[in-house]
Structures are given as structure tokens and as C-alpha cells.
């Protein structure tokens, strides 16, 4: 049974259909890269997986671990092990990252019918992740994402992914706007978390990050559909010749 199975997914925002029959299977232990030109629906796909309420799923299904999660609330997907690393994480004044993540960890543990982590144990995990992601330890004592630079926000997303240890990590353009050091940190977190049980979906515009994270599959998304899937070499091909040749393949047929 695949960890994630997306069947003929259609989704729209307001009157605009953005996903138009997207299908994808992701097995445990795999890393999938989703690439595509601007406006192809990559970020929409990541957000629809996480259950963002702005999007309406009009057709198709999303199965996680054999359970249909298409209609679940975002929080119910999260506790089942689906994690979205945001491209633009929201700022939440007055809420400290520690407190936020402890609440999140508690929700996950409760769903798993396991004891909540003690403050001491959680702090140990949290501090470890702060160190590994290189996030400014002064910043995490303040408000969630407030006053964080773009790079710090991305580090904070990786910090959360590291602490929560989800089954399926969906990363929405985590690499965009990162300098080389931050990019290597992201790769190191992902590579360190790769296990036979966990899978990653890396949504990206550029193949740069895939020089540090070896994907098992690369998919090209055009106009809300996957138009080509292949191994890691596909990313290099895109790096050489761009998305031009895929655009025709994905042209809308009315």
C-alpha cells in the first residue's frame, strides 16, 4: 500500500480550476520532486494535500496510509503524519515557537494515544532541532515568525518538521530564496530524516536543491497535471533545457 495515493485530483480556487486530474503514488521511503513552471499548480497541490480551506476539491481522492483524507480538516491530516513546510509561513504575534510546537506535538501524541512529552523531554528535542537547523536561538524565544527573515522562516519550518517527525513531509518551495548555507542545512535535515518509513514530496521550481537531495522520482507538473515522470536525471534535463518542451505536452485540451 502506498503511503500517499492521489487519484485524479481536481481542485479550484474561486472559479479557477488549478489541479486538473493529478494522480501520484508515493511509497514509504521515497523522495519525490515535483517540478514545474510558475503557475503550474505546484504550490496548490502542496496546500491541497494539507487541506487549505481556500481550495475546493471537486473531483478525485487523496489517500494517506490507505485512509481517505480528502475531506479531513487540516489538523486531522496533520496528526495522521502529514506535514507541510510552508513557502510563506504566517506570523503569529505573541505565540512563542516552543509553545506552538509543544501544542502541536501534544496533538500528535494524543492522536497516537501516546503520552504527551514532558516539558523537559520536549525541550531537549526542541533545543536539538534549534541547533541543527541553525536558527537564531534568540528568535525562537519571541513570536512565531514575527520579525524573521525569509531564510529564518524556512529554518523554522525545518525545525518544526524535525521535531514533529511526520510520515509524509511536503515541502513547498523550501529552497526558494535560500543562500547556499541554508540550502545545505535543509538538505541535511531531509537526508537525516530519510528512513524506510518516511516519504518526502519536494515542490520546487529549480533543480538546485536536488543536487543535495537525491530524489527517487521527478515529476513535471504543467497546467494542473503531471505530464512526465522519471528518475533524478529528469531534473538535470530541466536544468539544461528548461520547461519549454513540457508546456506543449500539458497544453489545455478543451
Amino acid at each position: 500500500m502506498p503511503l500517499l495515493e492521489v487519484k485524479d485530483l481536481h481542485a479550484r480556487i474561486a472559479d479557477k480550476e488549478i489541479l486538473r486530474g493529478l494522480s501520484l503514488k508515493v511509497n514509504k521511503g521515497e523522495v519525490h520532486a515535483i517540478m514545474g513552471p510558475n503557475g503550474s499548480g505546484k504550490s496548490t497541490f502542496a496546500n491541497v494535500l494539507a487541506g487549505r480551506p481556500d481550495y475546493a476539491v471537486t473531483q478525485g481522492q487523496v489517500m494517506l496510509d490507505g485512509a481517505d483524507i480528502t475531506a479531513l480538516l487540516p489538523e486531522d491530516r496533520a496528526v495522521r503524519g502529514l506535514f507541510l513546510a510552508f513557502q510563506y509561513p504566517a506570523e503569529v504575534p505573541g505565540v512563542r515557537p516552543w509553545q506552538f510546537l509543544k501544542a502541536s506535538s501534544d496533538a500528535v501524541q494524543t492522536y497516537r494515544r501516546q503520552a504527551k512529552l514532558s516539558v523537559r523531554d520536549f525541550t531537549k528535542v526542541f533545543d536539538g532541532a534549534v541547533k541543527e537547523t541553525g536558527i537564531n536561538s534568540e528568535l525562537v524565544k519571541r513570536s512565531l515568525n514575527e520579525g524573521f527573515s525569509g531564510g529564518e522562516k524556512k529554518r523554522n519550518e525545518m525545525l518544526q518538521m524535525k521535531v514533529l517527525q511526520p510520515k509524509l513531509c511536503v515541502m513547498d518551495e523550501t529552497d526558494s530564496g535560500l543562500d547556499i548555507d541554508a540550502l545545505k542545512m535543509v538538505a541535511s535535515v531531509v537526508n537525516g530524516m530519510r528512513t524506510a518509513e518516511r516519504a518526502f514530496i519536494i515542490v520546487t521550481h529549480y533543480s538546485r536543491i536536488l543536487n543535495y537531495i537525491q530524489p527517487d522520482y521527478v515529476h513535471v507538473l504543467v497546467d494542473g497535471r503531471i505530464v512526465q515522470s522519471a528518475g533524478a536525471d529528469l531534473a538535470h534535463e530541466i536544468e539544461r533545457s528548461g520547461y519549454e518542451k513540457f508546456l506543449k505536452a500539458g497544453a489545455r485540451t478543451s
Binding site: G51, V92, P93, G94, V95, L101, A107, L144
Partner: protein
């Protein structure tokens, strides 16, 4: 008059959120309804007050009666309510078993102790609660003051107002009305005429009060008003932190609460005053609830003195209060930190007044208003810099948070500067809980309701963090309970 209402209504109430809505079955001694000079004489006689205090009350009453016959209650606040029939209120309601103040906890009616137990007020002097001294005011009468002996060793006086009148008449006479005169305003005059009890605290020179002093106010009797009077004095280089909590039963009729609080800080003295106001807010469709018309004011009388107000206002059908500081001593500091929440049909018109008189006086205002449902929330604040206040500074921050399409927030700042060296800053914002914030928190497994709560308490954090620790936890819980049904 015995009230046959059971004590176990906590769960059966239709107002799911208000778990403090129980009534307590104790026999109550009521003065007849209505207000006139005879009632005031009766109150004063029952409390065995000295002649000067009766005269003070009568003077206040005559002033109030004149206002009442004339323009009536002040109308400038942005709150709406039908005219109050002041002759249809009990001005004195005392639990009957209390003939004279109780000598010790053993003399207090067990039913009443149980009522306070339910409220979570630590009235018993238990080891684990060794941090708070409590004076509990039930309807009009102060029930018991814990930790008295411990405080007495340090020369700290903490007792009911009535007891202070008997045992410390000179202090009461010296300070009563010195910050809020009997003729200050309509409701202050009413309170001065009919106040029946309250708390009194005096901390002598150089003493830092080692525990938090606390008063728990509770209205129990139907149709009774509560008019407590609180007077707190920090003498030279003294420090005191005082907590005030308030609840009332759920009733379909409105209840009037018109308190007066006076704070005085002498040279280098400091008073920190924290309130959690959770009077019954009325039903979801706006029936019943407490009218909370309160005058609170502090006077920084001495040099380098400091008075700090922190309030979390979640209760009452209508709140009308402006805890203020008169900064008279040079280098004195006034602070006001407030979170006011209105849900359903609650209305709040609240804020502060900082009057800078002395040199280099400094004030800080952080006011946060949360409106949900049909709630109406107005911040009204005045900063006044008098001619002699060289180098005065004020920083004001007013933030409003709107929940739902029908709630209303207003900000009404008044600034009056009569000294060119003053420095004032004013920041204001209005925001909503954004969908992005909610989705972000939910995507980490936090339920919509908890996410709302987390965003709102985070937004209120600058105020909540000013509260003593246990009070802060209670405040966070209250914000959550008060918003149930408004979000999610």
C-alpha cells in the same frame, strides 16, 4: 430572606461558558429596596460607623440625588441600556448568619465557604496556598481575611473596609475620598453614599508586602447591587501587589455593580493592582448580566512612586471603567495594561486617564480590545500633561481584534498637552484573526478552536504577562471560555 435556589447549577446552565453562575443558599438580611437618607442612615448604623462617615455618605447622597434629578447618569460612553430604576435595588444585603464580622474562619457560614471554594478562592489557610491573602466580599459583606496574623507582624493592615473603619479610623479618614472625591461622578457618588464593604490595605514605610493580597467579590442576592469600596495605601518605599477577582450568578435580570477603588503611593512607594473581572456577562441573546460601572483611580502622591493597573475584563453585560493615575510626585510612573473582551451582546467602554502633574513623570498604556459576536468594545483614554510636568513622557498602544462580521471596535483617544517638553507616542491597530494564521496552526495539528485561542492569547500577551503567574493562567482560561461559540 431565604433563597431556595440550589447550589449545583454549574452544568445545567444554558450559558455553557459561565461556570461561576451558581447561587448559594444562605439566609440574607436585606435592607428594604430603594434609596433615601433613611437607608443610608440604616447602612451606617448597621455598620456602627462614626458620625463623620455618616455625614460623608449623606453629602455624597445629596450630590447624587441632585444629579439623578437633573441630567442623570453620564451618557457620553458608547454603551446602551435602558434607564436603571435606582429605587428597585437592594442597597444592603448581608448573609444573616453574620451578626457582626466573623472573628475567625470557624465563624464563617460553611455554605459561604463552599461557595468560595467553588470559585477557586483559597479561603482556607492551607500550606500549598501560602502565596495569597484573601479577603472575600459576598454581596455586601466581607467574610474573612486570611493570613492576618502573618501580615500583622510586618505592620501590614489588610482587612475589610468595615473593620478598618472601626480599628483604623484615622487612616480611613485621612485617605477616603482623597483620590476619588465623593462628588467625583454619578456612580462614584452613589457608591460613596451606599458602599457597604470592601477591602482596605495599608503597607507601612519601607515594607515590601511578601504575599499577594487578594479580594474576591461575589454578588449573590437577586436584585441587589454591589457597591464595594477599596482603599490601598503604599507608604514611603512600601510595595504591595493586590489582586481582585469578581463573579456573579447567572440571572435574567441585570445587576448593578458600582465600585470605587482608590490607590495611594507615597515617596518611592508602589502599588500593583490586578483585576480579573468575570461578572456574569448575560445570556447569548443579551438578557441579564452585570452593569459594571466602576471608578478606579490611583494617586502617585510621592516622588518616584509607581501605580500599575492590569485588568482582564471578560465579564459584565456593560463595562464602564477607566482605571487612572494622577502622577503628582516628580519622577512617578503610571501604567495601564488592559485586555477587554466582549462577546454576544456585551458592551465595554473602558480605558484609562493619565494625568501628568509632576516633573519627569512617565506613563504607559497598553490597551487591547477583543470584540466577537455582537460585542461592542470602545477604548477611551486620556493623556493630560499639565504645565508643570516638564519632561513628561507617555507611550500609548491601542489594539483591536475583531472576530466575526458583526462585532464593533472603537478607539477614542484624548490628548491634552500643556507643556512643550512632553513626549507622547500613540500607536493603534485593528486586526482580524487571519485565515493564514489559522491554517498555519491547524496544519500542525492544532484544532480550529485551540488555534483561535492561541492566536488571541498571543495577541494579548503583552498584557497577560503583567499579571501574577496564577492569575495569568486563569486569565488565559477565561479568554478561552468567553470566546466559546464565537469561533471555530
Amino acid at each position: 430572606m431565604t433563597q431556595g435556589i440550589t447550589v449545583s447549577r454549574e452544568k445545567g446552565l444554558e450559558e455553557k461558558g459561565y461556570k461561576w453562575g451558581f447561587t448559594t443558599d444562605v439566609e440574607t438580611e436585606l435592607a428594604p429596596k430603594g434609596l433615601n437618607e433613611d437607608i443610608i442612615r440604616l447602612i451606617s448604623r448597621m455598620k456602627k460607623e462614626p458620625e463623620w462617615l455618616l455625614e460623608w455618605r449623606l453629602k455624597a447622597y445629596r450630590y447624587w440625588a441632585k444629579l439623578h434629578a437633573g441630567e442623570g447618569a453620564p451618557k457620553w460612553a458608547k454603551v446602551e441600556y435602558p434607564p436603571i430604576d435606582f429605587q428597585d435595588i437592594y442597597y444592603y444585603a448581608a448573609p444573616r448568619s453574620q451578626s457582626g464580622p466573623p472573628k475567625s474562619l470557624a465563624d464563617v457560614d460553611p455554605e459561604m465557604l463552599e461557595a468560595f471554594e467553588k470559585l477557586g478562592v483559597p479561603l482556607q489557610e492551607r500550606e500549598k496556598l501560602a502565596g495569597v491573602a484573601v479577603d472575600a466580599v459576598f454581596d455586601s459583606v466581607s467574610i474573612a481575611t486570611t493570613y492576618k496574623a502573618k501580615l500583622e507582624e510586618l505592620g501590614i493592615i489588610f482587612c475589610s473596609f468595615s473593620e478598618a473603619v472601626q480599628k483604623h479610623p484615622d487612616l480611613v479618614k485621612q485617605y477616603l475620598g482623597s483620590v476619588v472625591p465623593a462628588t467625583d461622578n454619578f456612580y462614584a457618588a452613589l457608591n460613596s453614599a451606599v458602599f457597604s464593604d470592601g477591602s482596605f490595605a495599608y503597607v507601612p514605610p519601607g515594607v515590601r508586602c511578601p504575599i499577594e493580597l487578594m479580594t474576591y467579590f461575589r454578588i449573590n442576592t437577586e436584585g441587589s447591587g454591589q457597591f464595594e469600596r477599596t482603599l490601598i495605601i503604599a507608604d514611603k518605599s512600601a510595595y504591595v501587589s493586590y489582586l481582585e477577582g469578581c463573579t456573579a450568578p447567572s440571572r435574567k435580570t441585570n445587576q448593578l455593580h458600582a465600585a470605587v477603588v482608590e490607590l495611594i503611593a507615597l515617596d518611592d512607594g508602589e502599588v500593583k493592582y490586578s483585576t480579573i473581572q468575570n461578572w456574569f456577562p448575560g445570556t447569548k441573546d443579551g438578557k441579564g448580566g452585570v452593569y459594571n460601572f466602576v471608578t478606579k483611580r490611583g494617586k502617585c502622591a510621592g516622588r518616584n512612586s509607581k501605580i500599575s493597573w492590569t485588568q482582564v475584563e471578560t465579564g459584565s453585560a456593560i463595562t464602564w471603567k477607566y482605571p487612572s493615575v494622577f502622577l503628582q510626585g516628580d519622577n512617578s510612573t503610571g501604567e495601564f495594561y488592559s485586555v477587554a473582551l466582549t462577546n454576544n451582546y456585551q458592551q465595554a467602554d473602558t480605558g484609562t486617564k493619565m494625568v501628568h502633574i509632576g516633573k519627569n513623570t512617565k506613563s504607559t498604556i497598553v490597551a487591547k480590545g477583543i470584540s466577537a459576536g455582537h460585542g461592542r468594545n470602545t477604548y477611551r483614554g486620556q493623556v493630560k500633561i499639565m504645565p508643570g510636568a516638564d519632561g513628561a513622557t507617555n507611550h500609548t498602544q491601542c489594539d483591536s481584534l475583531l472576530i466575526g462580521p458583526l462585532s464593533v471596535a472603537n478607539t477614542v483617544p484624548y490628548i491634552e498637552v500643556r507643556n512643550p517638553t512632553a513626549r507622547l507616542e500613540h500607536e493603534a491597530s485593528t486586526s482580524k484573526v487571519s485565515d493564514d494564521q489559522l491554517f498555519y496552526l491547524q496544519s500542525r495539528g492544532i484544532s480550529a478552536e485551540d488555534a483561535h485561542h492561541m492566536i488571541i492569547t498571543g495577541w494579548s500577551r503583552d498584557v497577560i504577562k503583567e499579571l501574577p503567574f496564577e492569575f495569568a493562567i486563569e486569565a488565559n482560561q477565561l479568554l478561552k471560555v468567553s470566546l466559546e461559540g464565537a469561533v471555530g
